[in-house]
């Protein structure tokens, strides 16, 4: 765990990293202008990558950085989606538009408020496996509430928004890119900030963190709410894309498990790991859908198992570990006592 400050060399490296990241984001933002691109299957693939990467980052903050394994990201994703759909159908009469940024923001905020309300009792009482179990129960309660919500939430059929104004996936694509890049940037900032240090301190040792003056409960609830906010945004965006919000589609545990898989595969508790995981896993799911329709959960399931067996700490972590090992070897080689030694190893 890199808890100490950054060396000047690293800072130089990060500013170059930021430039590269901005260029890559810009390149993705220009993709819709490539002729024929918005009608290609890959365009849809990229949109899904952005949605998954956003949810994955939301879990990354809660579990990767703060160490609280949440199994309720789908609940916040669903609350976000339902907020958008319900506001659009019940309170905005005509619905003659699609894509309202305010609705999206409302989705995030409602999810975050819900997370604070539920997070204070849960996090003050539960930790570790018990917290994971509690959040699992939370998702199921939300699901039953939405099914039993009568005509307001549309029961098990859910809510349908008017698909009429839909013309192109392009706005969704850009908003998706914005959410994915924004959440990644937020995580990057978090990883280097004092607040992020508090999160990691809570993850490593809550008692020691409390003893050093970190308000543990507030930090945990804050991370939980921030994650919920981001997941809620993603849910709102996805609702604008599918136009029909239902318990089966939104309150589905896959919206928690797939992002976890992406995080763990890419490297949870790293900035870019979840993004990398989202690219790889969405490619696998999409390829499975195209080449093995019907059987694709088998492929995905097998892949999950294989990745966990052979790369349990993620792609980035494996690289990081190797880089660290190389650095130590170099330092040993440069040391004054080792100057006479011919081979550092």
């Amino acid at each position: 765990m890199n808890l100490q400050g950054h060396t000047p060399g690293q800072r130089q490296g990060t500013s170059r990293g930021l430039v590269i990241a901005a260029l890559v984001t810009l390149a993705f933002a220009l993709v819709p202008f490539v002729p024929g691109a918005p009608d290609h299957y890959l365009f849809f693939y990229l949109f899904m990558v952005f949605v998954y990467a956003t949810v994955a980052q939301s879990w990354n903050v809660v579990a990767g950085y703060t160490g609280q394994i949440s199994l309720a990201q789908h609940a916040f994703f669903g609350v976000g989606g339902y907020t958008t759909a319900l506001l659009a159908t019940h309170f905005l009469e005509d619905g003659g538009f699609y894509f309202n940024p305010l609705l999206l923001l409302a989705s995030g905020l409602v999810a975050a408020l819900f997370a604070v309300a539920i997070g204070i009792p849960l996090l003050s009482k539960l930790a570790g496996d018990y917290f994971a179990l509690g959040t699992l129960g939370l998702g199921e309660i939300v699901r039953v509430l939405l099914i039993k919500g009568g005509s307001f939430t549309g029961g098990s059929a859910g809510v349908s928004m008017s698909p009429e104004p839909f013309e192109t996936l392009m706005p969704h694509y850009w908003v998706g890119l914005l959410l994915a890049a924004g959440s990644t940037l937020a995580v990057w900032w978090l990883a280097r900030s004092r607040a992020g240090l508090a999160l990691m301190a809570v993850r490593e040792d809550p008692i020691a963190a409390a003893a050093s003056g970190v308000p543990v409960l507030r930090v945990k609830v804050g991370a939980f709410a921030a994650g919920a906010f981001v997941a809620g945004l993603a849910g709102g965006l996805y609702a604008f894309y599918v136009f029909a919000v239902s318990p089966g589609g939104f309150l589905n545990l896959s919206w928690t498990l797939y992002p976890i898989l992406m995080c763990v595969m890419g490297g949870s508790g790293t900035v870019l790991g979840p993004v990398l995981g989202a690219f790889v896993m969405t490619a696998v799911f999409s390829a499975g859908n195209v080449y093995f329709p019907g059987a694709h959960p088998i492929v995905s399931g097998a892949l999950i198992i294989l990745v966990m067996l052979f790369m349990p700490s993620g792609i980035l972590r494996v690289r990081e570990g190797r880089a660290r090992a190389r650095k130590t070897v170099q330092q040993v080689g440069k040391g004054p006592q080792a100057s006479s030694a011919t081979t550092p190893r």
Partner: protein, 293 residues
């Protein structure tokens, strides 16, 4: 029939059916106790056991309660192999996400393999006595549910006695208490894990067999069962065999009671109780509080 009599019958049925949750929860409890992971694929394994019983009945005419004894050694073997192939490496790791995700992957795979091989249609075993019932204490008792209850009871007693009386059982308990110390006194952790895991899968097989005989199964039923087993486990207290059975029975009672009083809310009431118990009595409802030193 008066409302009260209906309620009484519902509650009895809840108790009988809840015992099946209890058996599933005991399996989860053993695996959690030794390996420290929540084995989310338990429900899928139960459904797999149910299909085994179903096909044995359909193709070979084997009675599900005979199949119970045939399934036992088979599922023990399957469980041991699964531990060695899938969980051996992950069990040794500090990070429990890995084992959790392996279980999730396994559960996805099993669900879709079963759905592809045997279609997603719900299936049930219909024997001559399936819809039969007998009169006792002025109530109708379903034969299959009552049989399921006694199977659950025998399984629980079997596991408790195994843990209490045999050397291996004591090793399993020691590992649940403290893995490092158990390893220090010479208990091989992987063998203990494997045995606990195998028994957990065997219990899933037993639960599946009785489930297929009383109820309908479909490939995607497993996840719900895993959740129910988890709730039962939390009600009874993690790592407590008798408590897990009691937790399952209590969950059955809660579900049937709320299906009478608040139709459609049964699941939500179950989860709400689960959350409350987790928060206020995380050691379970049936364990006298002992502070561990």
């Amino acid at each position: 029939m008066s409302g009260l009599a209906i309620l009484a019958e519902l509650l009895v049925n809840g108790v009988l059916f809840g015992a099946m949750y209890g058996v599933a929860a005991i399996g989860l409890s053993l695996i959690f106790g030794t390996m420290g992971i929540i084995f989310l694929a338990q429900g899928a394994m139960i459904v797999l056991g149910g299909y085994a019983a179903y096909w044995a009945f359909r193709l070979l005419g084997v009675d599900p309660y005979v199949m119970l004894f045939l399934l036992l050694p088979g599922s023990l073997l399957v469980g041991s192999a699964m531990y060695q192939l899938l969980f051996r490496r992950a069990a040794a790791m500090q990070d429990k996400n890995t084992s959790l995700l392996i279980a999730v992957g396994l559960s996805f795979m099993l669900e879709s393999v079963m759905s592809l091989a045997w279609t997603p249609d719900p299936r049930s075993i219909t024997t001559g006595y399936s819809s039969g019932s007998f009169q006792f204490l002025g109530m109708n008792w379903s034969i299959t549910r009552t049989a399921g209850f006694f199977v659950a009871l025998v399984a629980t007693i079997g596991v408790t006695q195994f843990l209490r009386r045999t050397m291996i059982g004591k090793a399993v308990r020691a590992t649940s208490e403290d893995m490092t110390s158990a390893a220090l006194v010479g208990i091989p952790p992987h063998r203990v894990n494997m045995i606990a895991f195998a028994i957990g899968i065997a219990l899933a097989g037993i639960a599946g067999c009785t489930l297929a005989a009383t109820y309908t199964i479909d490939p995607y039923f497993g996840f719900l069962l895993s959740l129910k087993a988890l709730i039962a486990l939390a009600l009874g207290g993690l790592g407590h065999v008798g408590g897990a059975l009691a937790g399952g029975i209590l969950l059955g009672l809660i579900e049937s009671g709320s299906s009478y009083l608040l139709p459609g809310w049964g699941d939500a009431v179950g989860y709400a109780v689960f959350l409350l118990v987790l928060m206020f009595r995380p050691q379970g409802l049936f364990v006298r509080t002992v502070t561990k030193t």
